[in-house]
Structure formats: structure tokens, C-alpha cells
């Protein structure tokens, strides 16, 4: 985020006289920073504190040391939820990335028909997760029948929500249905910034469409892909509304992913200290995955994709 510095510096040196006039006082940022800290950063710290407490939501929280954490590591329900979360995240990534990449690169063309289709593709993003989950709950309702008509054409069992694998795949699909437009847009924006010269040079060298895609488009989009993947991963680790509305964690506990387990522990059995431990674990996992991805892709080092041009 430092690309303003060179500009600012250049001007600062040349016109030191005016360079520092009219700079806003840093204090202006304080209300915004405080507000964000109070409602996002401080709660994160309190969550860690509460994870060492026992709290039923009524009395004051009491410190119980490492109890919640030792319980967490022995809890087979937590283990299953963590596994299901990772599974759901992987499925979502594998499903969304190729489709969003393909649609995004395609939509980067400026033809009218593509702009029109893109406008339709965008619609799911306007609906709330609640509305989408309810819509698919209705569509997959064995009595309502849409799935009974369409399912057999596509080889889908009408009672897909009744099976563990089916329910998990449905949750992943519904999440993809909702967020695909967002990731498509991200790729579309990235693809539009690829310099046209690269393709012209490749055509002159006789590279075909497929080679151009793998040797120009994909490498040029690697930062875009990192951004999209991080958002995708953090997003699917936190699919909660969909699970609550569509499966209630079932059949059995087979779609009880971490956020849903946290909700059930915290706000249905009011074991809020343990819920805070689960939430903390969730943040740790989400943040580490994001950091690893950023590190692996070289995104953090701000290496330019225009290298060598």
C-alpha cells in the first residue's frame, strides 16, 4: 500500500515549502480508529479472555484457566467440525475458483452481450444469505418438487439433503451460487488490467489461445487469485446462515461446521466460554491460512507482475 510514497516524496523534496502545508492532523482519524477498535479489535481480545472462562450468559464470567482449551482438543465434536470446515472450504475453493476465473476472464471482454450477461450473473450477490438459503431450502424441499423434476435429469437424488455428503455439497454449491459473481468481478477487474501488448507479442510468436491463457493470463492474475482465494477461504470458513437455515447442522451433525458448532454451544446451550474458545480457534485458522497464502504467493513482497516489461 505504499505506492503513494514515491510520488509524495518526490514532490516533498522539490517543493518542501508547500509539501507539509495543509496536511490533515492525524487526530482526525482517531474517532474512526477508536470506533473500529471498540467493536472489532477489543471484542477479539475479549474472545480470547472469555475462552479461559466459564460463562452462562447470565452471571459474570469466571476464570477457569485452560479448561475450555483442554476440552477443545479432546472434543470429538470439535474435531469433526474442524474437519468439516476444512472439507467445505476445500470443496468451495475447488468449485468456485475455476468457474470464477473462466467467467471473469470471459466477462473482461467488452462486448455488449457479455456486459448484459454479467448484469444477470450479479443478481445473487444482491440477495441476502438468508434469502438464498431459504430459496434453496424450498427448491430442495421433497414436497415442493423442483428437485424431483430437475434432480433426475441431472442425476441428483431428490432427497439430496438427507445424505451427509449431499448436504455438505449443497451447502458448498449454495455458497458458490451466492459468491461466484463477487469472485468473477474480481477476476474480471484483474483480467482487464493485463496489458494488451503481452497478447499481441504472444500472437506474433504464434502462441495459441490455450498457451496464451496458461502463459499470460494465469501468471498475470496470480495476485488477483491470491486476493480472491483468501476472501473465498475466510468466507467459506464462516458460512453460517446457510447451515443454520438449510441443514441445522444435520443430518445428524454431518454439516456442523465450526461457526455453527460455536453458535449451538454459545447460544443454544449457553456455554459461552467454550463457544469463545471455538471462535478463537476459528480466527487462528482463518488468519493463518490467509497469511500462508499471502506468503506463498509473494503477494506481500509487492513484487510487480509487470516484472521484466
Amino acid at each position: 500500500m505504499s505506492h503513494h510514497t514515491p510520488v509524495a516524496k518526490r514532490h516533498g523534496d522539490r517543493k518542501a515549502a508547500v509539501g507539509n502545508v495543509g496536511r490533515p492532523p492525524v487526530a482526525w482519524a482517531v474517532p474512526g480508529i477508536l470506533f473500529f477498535a471498540v467493536f472489532a479489535i477489543v471484542p477479539l481480545a475479549i474472545a480470547v479472555y472469555l475462552s479461559f472462562c466459564e460463562w452462562d450468559g447470565l452471571d459474570s464470567p469466571t476464570l477457569t484457566g485452560l479448561d475450555n482449551w483442554t476440552r477443545l482438543f479432546k472434543d470429538s465434536e470439535f474435531g469433526q467440525a474442524a474437519w468439516l470446515s476444512l472439507l467445505l472450504t476445500t470443496i468451495s475453493w475447488v468449485f468456485q475458483t475455476p468457474v470464477a476465473l473462466l467467467l471473469g476472464v470471459w466477462a473482461a471482454g467488452r462486448q455488449r452481450s457479455r456486459a448484459f450477461l454479467s448484469a444477470i450473473f450479479f443478481i445473487p450477490l444482491l440477495l441476502s444469505t438468508t434469502a438464498i438459503a431459504m430459496l434453496f431450502h424450498a427448491l430442495l424441499d421433497p414436497n415442493f418438487g423442483v428437485i424431483q423434476t430437475i434432480g433426475p435429469w441431472l442425476g441428483i437424488d431428490p432427497n439430496v439433503m438427507g445424505s451427509s455428503t449431499g448436504a455438505l455439497l449443497v451447502v458448498a454449491f449454495v455458497g458458490g451460487w451466492q459468491f461466484m459473481p463477487f469472485h468473477t468481478l474480481i477476476y474480471q477487474g484483474g483480467a482487464r488490467q493485463i496489458p494488451e501488448v503481452l497478447y499481441q507479442a504472444a500472437s506474433i510468436d504464434g502462441a495459441g489461445m490455450v498457451r496464451q491463457f496458461f502463459h499470460i493470463t494465469l501468471p498475470q492474475l496470480r495476485h488477483t487469485m491470491t486476493t480472491s482465494s483468501v476472501l473465498m477461504i475466510v468466507g467459506s470458513l464462516t458460512y453460517f446462515d446457510t447451515v443454520l437455515i438449510m441443514t441445522k447442522g444435520g443430518p445428524g451433525t454431518d454439516t456442523t461446521i465450526l461457526p455453527y458448532l460455536m453458535y449451538r454451544t454459545g447460544f443454544q446451550t449457553y456455554d459461552l466460554g467454550y463457544a469463545a474458545a471455538i471462535a478463537t480457534a476459528l480466527v487462528v485458522v482463518a488468519t493463518s491460512i490467509s497469511l500462508i497464502m499471502v506468503r506463498l504467493s509473494g503477494f506481500g513482497s509487492m513484487r510487480s507482475t509487470r516484472e521484466g516489461m
Binding site: 472489532a40 484483474g190 497478447y199 507482475t305
Partner: protein
């Protein structure tokens, strides 16, 4: 991560491509990509079939929806389901949600504009630290803080008020707001600030008469984005409010699901009604929203 640094609005039409380059681009992109072309048609079906069913079944009588062909047009369209929904307190849900959305947007803008401005215009360590904190904030999931927020909102005496929804929603919309705003504000050239400084303008006048008007695109993206977050948020209302008087749209929908039970057409009608206001905004402000989001993946 860097955010679209171009002024968003006129981008689409006024792309400065020379005719020759535009021709090359068109040739390249339309020639190839049969896979993507077919893929996009398949995805079109995947998007449209559920939406079509949503609207058409919401116009059917219950027995037709349950027994007829779900993909057929309603034989005898009726608005009865919509009446059922409107009679179930739907308007008060819309009212509450509108209050939440408007106040959230106002709060996000009032708080984020100065932060972004300071981040762009000053070089102090403090401001870059603050900026980095917001950057990290993008990755904090709301689920992570819901238990402590439940505690805090309770202690503040705000449980079961609309403020309980507004405050955390605004806070969680701020990271993206700051990123988008500082992206657009960075585009305001140093020369313009210098010119204003020579005229003896105060920092506030520079913000108000230069940076803000020139970042209109970013500001509208942020406004729409935060409104969308507020309108569609589910977790905060679910945990932090309780009574019917404070119920917002998403929670109301969730409630209809058990209230209407097997009356699926009524459930679908409620979904349609909940989307209409957002859809109207989308038609008006599509460009600002799309360009802002597209910029998220820029380099």
C-alpha cells in the same frame, strides 16, 4: 491488496483504446474461449432457474405450487401470497431495516472518510499503523466476535435495540470502506493540494472541497456496499435482538419460514419482497457498485 485507484464511473464507456487495439482485443477474446462461452451459458441457467422458480412459484396458489410442474408458468397468477406476507408485519420489518441501513451508511462514511484521508495525506507511523490494522480487519469474521459483542452490548444496555445491529455492522464495514476510499483519494493529484495550499486553504477545506468531491465514485461504492451489508446481515440481529419490535428483514424472513411452514409460495413471496428495494438500488447504482468490487482484485 490494492484497490481500484481509478475514478470508477466513466471507466466503462471512456476506455481510451485506440481502434486498432480495440480490434485486436475483440479478435482475441471472441475468437477463443469457446469453453468460457459455453461455461457462461451453463452458469446463466444455474443462476436463472432458481430465480425463475422463485418468482413464478410466488405467484402460484399453494396446491398448484405443490402439485403442478414447478417449471411451468403459473396457470392462474395470484398476488394472494404477497398479501399474506404484507399482512404479517412485513412493512415494519422494512422500516427497521431501512433505519439500520441508513444509519449504518452515515456512520461508516463519517468515520471512514477522515481515516482514509489521513492515511493518504500523512506519512506518520501512526497513520500507517492504523491503516494496516484496517487492512487486517478485512479478515476478521463476525462469528469470531459475536460472543464478546453479546457481552458488551448487554453491558452497554443496548441489547434488543437497533443500535445493537448498527454499531457492529458499521464497524465491520469499515475496513473495506477505508480501503476503497483511500484507493480513490490517492488519485487526487498532489498538485491540486498544493494549489489549494497556496491559496491558504485549511486541511478541512481541502478535504471538503477537493478530496470528497473527487472521490464521489469511491464514496458511492462504500455507501452501497455498507447498505448491502446492513440490509442483508443476519448474525448480529439474530444474536443481539430479540423482540418483534426490533426485528429486521433477514430475521423476519427466517421467522416466516417456520410461521408459513409448508406454504412455500408465501415464503418465496417474502423473499421476493425483501429483494425489491435492493434491486431498485442496484438498477440505479450498478456501475458504482460493480466498479468498486472489481477493483478489489486489481494490482
Amino acid at each position: 491488496m490494492s484497490i481500484d485507484t481509478r475514478p470508477a464511473a466513466p471507466e466503462h464507456r471512456a476506455t481510451p483504446v485506440t481502434p486498432r487495439r480495440a480490434g485486436a482485443a475483440r479478435r482475441r477474446r471472441s475468437l477463443g474461449n469457446p469453453v468460457a462461452g459455453i461455461g457462461s451459458l451453463v452458469w446463466l441457467l444455474i443462476v436463472l432457474v432458481p430465480l425463475y422458480t422463485l418468482v413464478s412459484a410466488s405467484l402460484m396458489r399453494q396446491d398448484e405450487a405443490l402439485n403442478g410442474d414447478p417449471l411451468a408458468l403459473p396457470t392462474d397468477p395470484t398476488l394472494e401470497n404477497y398479501r399474506t406476507v404484507l399482512d404479517s408485519g412485513f412493512l415494519s420489518l422494512i422500516g427497521n431495516t431501512a433505519i439500520v441501513a441508513v444509519v449504518t451508511v452515515a456512520l461508516v462514511l463519517v468515520l471512514s472518510v477522515p481515516v482514509a484521508y489521513v492515511a493518504v495525506r500523512t506519512r506518520s507511523r501512526l497513520s500507517s499503523l492504523a491503516f494496516r490494522t484496517f487492512l487486517l480487519g478485512v479478515a476478521i469474521p463476525a462469528q469470531a466476535v459475536i460472543v464478546p459483542l453479546y457481552l458488551m452490548i448487554g453491558k452497554l444496555g443496548l441489547y434488543d435495540t437497533l443500535w445493537a445491529i448498527i454499531l457492529p455492522t458499521a464497524a465491520f464495514a469499515m475496513p473495506v470502506a477505508v480501503l476503497v476510499l483511500s484507493g480513490t483519494m490517492r488519485d487526487v493529484s498532489e498538485e491540486m493540494y498544493e494549489a489549494m495550499a497556496l491559496d491558504g486553504a485549511s486541511p478541512f477545506r481541502m478535504l471538503w472541497q477537493l478530496a470528497v468531491p473527487l472521490s464521489k465514485a469511491g464514496i458511492s461504492t462504500v455507501a452501497i456496499f455498507s447498505a448491502l451489508q446492513a440490509w442483508n446481515g443476519f448474525l448480529f440481529p439474530l444474536i443481539l435482538t430479540q423482540s418483534e419490535e426490533q426485528r429486521v428483514l433477514t430475521l423476519g424472513l427466517f421467522n416466516f419460514m417456520s410461521q408459513f411452514g409448508v406454504n412455500i409460495p408465501a415464503v418465496l413471496a417474502a423473499i421476493v419482497l425483501s429483494v425489491i428495494p435492493i434491486f431498485a438500488v442496484y438498477l440505479v447504482a450498478r456501475r458504482a457498485l460493480i466498479n468498486g468490487l472489481m477493483g478489489v482484485g486489481g494490482k
